[in-house]
């Protein structure tokens, strides 16, 4: 199946295109033959039986046929106009990125009030909680991981371990010693950073993909320990009745000396949700602010240099281990902050929340956002996490595909597929290009985002 249509003359060549699409469809039919066509189900006596659904195979083959045909035809188009200079483009994308950023922050600050105004307190609760807070947690996690993956170029597959450290720090410190959230928040950040250093120190001299696998192993080890060390973490059951958030000491309850009585408001659960929303917004913005500032400092420049070319970096006398370690520890610290926020929001933590798929979700956000771009990560978090929430609500799909159809189960399927497509289509991300933040006098003709390993 050579790419026959690659160097064909303009004008559509239907023959080879159909041939290629037909081949792809045939392969798809082969791939889906047993796994899609025959479904294993347990019957009443718990014995496996097969049900047949051959129409799915035909559908899959047809979809691939059409998709492949379109791709081939698109590829065959003349490409003469494509070679435009990249400099103005990247300027405009920078402008757009900045504009999205400012607009996003303004929208976020008014978002809770607008929803409350239009939907009323009880209607707004779902929107602020499921969409606002949930997305912002992932924005923050994405930005934290972005320091490690996007800036320093270290692939960390166990990021959720630090999230877990932060969550369990708050859960244990508050339930055992009765410490308040405002004390535990910095403590959990410090603890997570310490763990980052402890775990990072031995592994950071490994090459990229080994590092990824070892961090994955550490993430799993921490989870298995949390499951099995029941004296410490209460195992699978997790830790419940974690103290709720307070407004700097004032509880959000319907009583004397609470938030609502202090400010003369009628009690409503929306107050707490709104406060949580602004808290995570501030935490996320703090992460962003620190990252942006650090990028301008020598250490941030060293991260980016390290990402582009480790050997050149070492030749210039940068201590690569320390540089990697700072990135790792800082990323872990923000993960820890997010973790303790997660614990105070849920009021319950268990090892189930910190599985590998969670790490993969955060990584997917960073990858799809374009590793290194802050706005890109935020947009990706909105699309992926918000998209997941929307999938839960697509009731109308049941009308088409039948009652058993549950759109939210396709979430991870879409994540995985999107990661692959992203790597093939735009490995530098959708929103922004990966550009060095410092130039010698002027930009070179070829920007760093266009070459393989940073030889611009």
């Amino acid at each position: 199946m050579a790419n026959i249509s690659k160097d064909s003359a303009p004008g559509i060549q239907w023959g080879p295109a159909i041939q290629e699409a037909g081949f792809a469809a045939l392969v798809t039919a082969g791939l889906s033959f047993p796994i899609l066509a025959l479904k294993t189900d347990s019957d009443v006596s718990n014995k496996l039986v097969l049900s047949q659904r051959w129409s799915l195979v035909i559908w899959a083959a047809a979809i691939v046929f059409i998709g492949r045909l379109i791709l081939v035809l698109l590829k065959a188009r003349p490409k003469a106009e494509k070679a435009v200079s990249t400099a103005p483009q990247s300027n405009s994308s920078k402008f757009i990125a900045k504009w999205i950023g400012t607009a996003g922050i303004i929208i976020l600050f008014v978002f809770p009030f607008v929803t409350v105004y239009f939907l009323g307190a009880s209607g707004a609760l779902k929107w602020i909680n499921n969409y606002g807070v949930q997305i912002l947690i992932y924005v923050m996690l994405g930005w934290g991981l972005n320091i490690v993956v996007g800036l320093a170029g270290l692939l960390d597959l166990g990021y959720v371990a630090f999230y877990a450290v932060g969550a369990y720090s708050y859960a244990l410190l508050s339930t055992t010693y009765g410490l308040s959230f405002w004390l535990c928040l910095p403590l959990s950040g410090i603890l997570a950073a310490t763990w980052g250093i402890i775990l990072g120190f031995p592994v950071l001299r490994l090459r990229g993909d080994y590092l990824a696998i070892v961090t994955l192993a550490f993430g799993e080890i921490i989870r298995v320990v949390l499951i099995n060390w029941t004296d410490f973490s209460n195992g699978y059951a997790g830790i419940s009745s974690i103290p709720k958030i307070t407004f700097f000491g004032l509880p959000f309850t319907d009583s004397e000396s609470s938030f609502s009585s202090m400010f003369g408001l009628d009690y409503s659960p929306i107050h707490r949700t709104m406060f949580l929303f602004y808290l995570i917004l501030c935490l996320a913005l703090l992460t962003n602010f620190v990252t942006m500032r650090l990028r301008r400092l020598p250490v941030g420049r060293a991260w980016e240099a390290l990402r582009e070319d480790e050997i050149a970096c070492r030749s210039l006398g940068i201590n690569t281990t320390n540089t990697k370690l700072t990135a790792f520890a800082l990323g872990a610290m923000f993960g820890g902050f997010a973790g303790s926020f997660f614990a105070v929001r849920q009021g319950f933590v268990s090892p189930e929340s910190f599985t590998f798929i969670e790490s993969a979700t955060i990584l997917a956000i960073v990858v799809l956002g374009g590793m290194g771009s802050q706005v890109g990560v935020a947009v990706a978090a909105v699309v992926l996490v918000g998209g997941t929430e929307i999938l839960r609500e697509l009731e109308w799909t049941k009308q088409i595909f039948g009652q058993d159809f549950d759109p939210s189960q396709y979430r991870s399927l879409i994540f995985g597929g999107a990661m692959v497509i992203m790597m093939i289509w735009k490995p530098r991300g959708i929103v922004s290009s990966r550009e060095p933040s410092l130039f010698l006098k002027e930009k070179k003709s070829v920007s760093g985002s266009l070459v393989g390993e940073g030889h611009g």
Partner: protein
């Protein structure tokens, strides 16, 4: 002593399965230098294909002999899993050659998530159990505190593994295909200059790796009698550990590493705690990578500037 002997048998059985999967990791790593993260999920997929074909043969077509059905399921699974891995390489990895360093790994992680969730969506999230196959076995020792048994399944697993490895060794060492494969492993550019179709060789590497993983998958299904969509991840990581322990890129290393990991896991469970058996495997992975990155039989990696 009896417990030790029994665990030795169990460990070698499990180790054979890990070794078969580990070869797929090590071959792909050797030839294109990427960690094929999706290989564990491919193993799980092959198990499902084997299960479905077996069910179809015995239930829908009414084949009465389970042994023949099992054999046919094994071959069908090898064939279809190879097709899967061939397609995965074409779609997800080949376009990324020459992209930046981490791109293939991220793509492989995406593929891994995709595969496990694909199986979950199309086959349902529950455990799938098959009726017992080849039950029974020999008693190796009798009368002591504990009867040591060697089941037919275990004999079958070890025998199939040895047979396959012999065939595989012949393929890599003696055939033109194996020569091309080894040449690409040493120097891809030079190999292509000497007229070897590198793309085809890489595809074949994926196909061979998948076929071995499929054998492992079907044997795993037969041994444990149950499979679920999430079963790819942990065996995948353990097989990768085996590949690393034996030295990534070394084929005998992968087998030795697999046997070692199987033995360590089984003995750890028997003498320490089953709860922490995964921790043991993961720790070995971390320790090997940190202190002995070239493994037992691997070549030390030379950094080229």
């Amino acid at each position: 002593m009896e417990i030790f002997l029994q665990q030795l048998i169990n460990g070698l059985t499990l180790g054979s399965i890990y070794g078969l999967i580990a070869i797929g990791y090590t071959m792909v790593f050797g030839i294109i230098g990427m960690v094929n993260f999706a290989h564990g999920d491919l193993f799980m997929l092959s198990s499902f294909i084997g299960l479905i074909v077996f069910m179809a043969l015995t239930q829908l077509l009414g084949l009465s002999s389970p042994a023949i059905a099992f054999l046919l399921a094994l071959f069908a699974s090898m064939l279809l899993t190879s097709l899967w891995n061939w397609s995965i390489e074409r779609v997800a990895y080949r376009p990324l050659r020459g992209s930046f360093r981490l791109a293939p790994l991220i793509s492989a992680i995406g593929m891994s998530i995709f595969l496990s969730n694909f199986v979950q969506v199309v086959q349902g999230p529950r455990n799938k159990a098959i009726p017992g196959l080849f039950d029974g076995g020999f008693k190796v020792t009798q009368g002591g505190t504990y009867d040591v048994t060697l089941s037919y399944k275990q004999i079958l697993i070890v025998a199939v593994t040895v047979l396959l490895l012999a065939g595989f060794w012949y393929l890599v060492q003696k055939t033109p295909l194996g020569r091309a494969q080894r040449a690409c492993e040493q120097d891809r550019k030079m190999a292509s200059l000497l007229g070897i179709d590198v793309d085809k060789t890489i595809s074949l590497t994926f196909v061979i790796g998948a076929a071995l993983a499929a054998v492992a998958g079907v044997l795993y299904l037969m041994y444990y009698g149950v499979v679920s969509f999430a079963d790819g991840f942990v065996p995948g990581v353990k097989a990768f550990t085996a590949a690393v322990l034996g030295g990534v890129g070394s084929l005998p290393g992968a087998v030795i590493g697999g046997l070692l990991i199987g033995l360590i896991e089984v003995f750890w469970s028997a003498y320490f705690s089953t709860d922490y058996k995964d921790v043991a495997a993961f720790s070995i992975l971390a320790i090997t990578l940190i202190f002995m990155p070239s493994g037992l039989l691997g070549r030390p990696e030379v950094e080229k500037v």
